[in-house]
Symmetry: C2
Subunit: 126 residues, 2 copies
Amino acid sequence: MSEPSSLNDTTRLRIRVVFDDDAMLGPGKADLLERIRETGSIAAAGRTMSMSYKRAWSLVEEMNAVFRDPLVVSTRGGRKGGGARLTESGEAILTHYRKLEEIAAEAGAARIGLIKSMLKDIPEGK
Amino acid sequence: MSEPSSLNDTTRLRIRVVFDDDAMLGPGKADLLERIRETGSIAAAGRTMSMSYKRAWSLVEEMNAVFRDPLVVSTRGGRKGGGARLTESGEAILTHYRKLEEIAAEAGAARIGLIKSMLKDIPEGK
């Protein structure tokens, strides 16, 4: 996934919402939700992230356990590899999380710029 | 560090600034900087975080390698366990990072609230 891009232009935030010491929602789970929506399958979603079937399932189970309503439902076959889709709650959580990423990055842009300006390899005159 | 507190009141953000695929600044490094400032020693700082001496040193080295000026300097003894302190750059990065955490949490509060409201165990009537 790494691409040759100009120096420091890749600086970005990674956000994790921590509910308690064990439960959290971060970029991995958000990406997994997104890919389940795209692929209609937990296994396929995991594969696009080089994630084992077992790992993908366990992340889904974690999310379904933490929220009042499940975020992902298996439409058939379940652990045998059947289809899966996001519920309304799953869609809502994914939307909230992506918005949160945006808002935080926007609000933090000036501070991130200050940190970035102290990195090595800043182009001359910047 | 886990304390019995009222449900979901512990929900918070954890922020990581990702410079590229390898280098990042997150809560672990920020805490380590803070504790080096408090203890005057990398080893002692690591111990307060149940972090091995080796791990603490390697995080310090990572930070010192990524930024133009070192964030931490050994005042004597170096790897033998001598003192250490934050440089001006170290203080600045720590300040920027803590401010970034604050800003992001504040800006994201409404979205975090929406996510929180979908968790299990929300008190009745909330």
